[in-house]
Amino acid sequence: MERLKVKLNNLELDNPVIPASGTYGFGYDYLDFYDPNILGSISLKGTTLHPRFGNVTPRIAECHMGMLNSVGLQNPGIHKVIEEELVKLDKIYHKKIIFNVSGFNIDEYVECVRLLDNIDKVGIIEVNISCPNVKDGGLSFGSDCSSAASVTKEVRKVTTKPLFIKLSPNVSNIADIAKSCEDEGADGISMINTLIGARFNLKTGKPILHNVTGGFSGPAILPVALRMVYEVYERVNIPIIGIGGISSAYDVIEMMYAGASAIQIGSSNLVDPYTCKKVIDDLPLVMDELNIKKITDIIGRAHK
């Protein structure tokens, strides 16, 4: 449907709906529910240079309209993902994907991005500088301008593919950080990753997550995500993928008003595996209701 098409740099998507990294595995787990080819794209599970088991369980805690996770980037390592997962995925999903990478030092980021540069299936490299779950990494890169800039600068050197930097919301000025990334050559911004939260067991008083804190996501965080996308849109001229708390076609519209060129849906997929399909089906109806002709017409409307 022409009216749903959006562009992220040179990548054209059939619609702005993309499942978010870490909530869609490597594309396989939703086959029972719908054909993934209806999606705009897929952001794959966060991958690191080396395989990781991630954190000890419990890794999940529930919140009002949201959840905490401390999965801790469990993944089989980028070599295996490229050699096995991408090959398998190619058989069931025929569009380009967004490859989400994390690292615990700049060299790891660079090495991952270098490995992806010549892989045709990869439409966008999403550089997660925000994962809050891993104590000795992740957080630091996303929490100040200079380290965000360094990562961007170094990965920029090794790829010509579109680079989207995925920002952490656990900062005092996200627009400054986005600007530093743009200045160092980022092609776009993915935002937001999870807030950091904790829950405690009422019976024991101890943290529910083995890792104490975890990433907070779901509808509860939507207002924070909307605000941050709004602020970043005012500061940068590169496209934004809006993420955080989206669960309906209405939320997609609101996120695009704030400034997003496309959106990702995370936790809502976990709670209702049909979410992305429903949102894609509902979008034209909601657009009719709100008198929106083409979805691209509304990007950043809140600022006009």
Binding site: D29, P58, R59, I60, V271
Partner: protein
């Protein structure tokens, strides 16, 4: 293949009865065609909460399935307030389920709310002519349930309770030792410390059904990962049932 798909189903509540302290039996009518073996679970939508609640299939026939659950927090509380003829929604056909033993003898070891999935399992095993020895452990008499139902399946039913208010005082592992049941192939479900004890004292092979906090229940979030000798597995997809050979305890 279609038969084996995960999907969202609606069920009508036939009854939702208190059968022990804070423990309810909920019988549901609806699509049960997907239940090909015992030990699978469903993830029940609870309006009161954001995440669904995983509950094992306790029993099933051609048109109904039965859950037995304990009220623990707000989600199960909500569930306990549902009435006859109301509907509930669930994501179904989750988990691997038990592989039915080919031996002609089996030991069933259940603890607390780990007992339910072992009921359907025991029925199927009995149908296959397997001789069952059953051990059920409860906190105390008021928490116990389904004892008579298990007795219909076997004459060898041992009961233990923490306070001795029903059966023998102590743990299921005490029973295993006392009655020398350590070399019978086993199936077990219950609290993790119990599973660990069973796993360490039995000399036979077994299948253990684990519990983990779940984000999705269908394999997408990696919330429920468990290390095994064959690599990382998801309790919701490759589990909840693991073999005694492959299992590794996280701590």
């Amino acid at each position: 293949m279609v038969f084996n798909m995960k999907k969202i189903e609606n069920y009508k509540i036939i009854h939702n009865n208190l059968i022990a302290k804070n423990t309810y039996e909920m019988k549901l009518e609806g699509n049960v065609g997907w239940i090909d073996k015992p030990g699978k679970f469903i993830n029940v939508s609870v309006d009161s909460n954001y995440l669904k609640r995983p509950i094992s299939i306790c029993d099933y026939d051609e048109t109904t399935l039965t859950l037995v659950y304990k009220v623990f927090g707000s989600g199960t509380k909500w569930l306990s307030n549902k009435k006859e003829n109301e509907k509930i929604e669930a994501l179904v056909n989750l988990g691997n389920g038990f592989e039915l033993n080919t031996e002609n003898e089996a030991l069933i070891i259940g603890g607390g709310v780990g007992v339910p999935p072992l009921y359907a399992l025991s029925k199927r095993l009995k149908e296959k002519g397997v001789k069952l020895t059953i051990i059920l452990g409860f906190t105390s008499k008021e928490d116990s349930f389904y004892i008579d139902k298990f007795k219909e399946l076997s004459e060898l039913v041992y009961i233990s309770s923490n306070d001795g208010s029903i059966g023998e005082i102590g743990f299921v592992s005490d029973i295993m030792i006392k009655y020398n049941l350590l070399d019978i192939p086993y199936y077990t479900c219950g609290p993790t410390p119990m599973l660990k004890a069973v796993h360490s004292i039995s000399t036979a092979k077994g299948q253990l059904s684990l519990e983990e906090r779940m984000g999705c229940g269908f394999g997408a979030c990696m919330g429920c990962s468990h290390k095994t000798k064959n690599g990382y597995k998801r309790v919701c997809v490759e589990g909840p049932v693991f073999t005694s050979e492959e299992i590794i305890w996280n701590d």
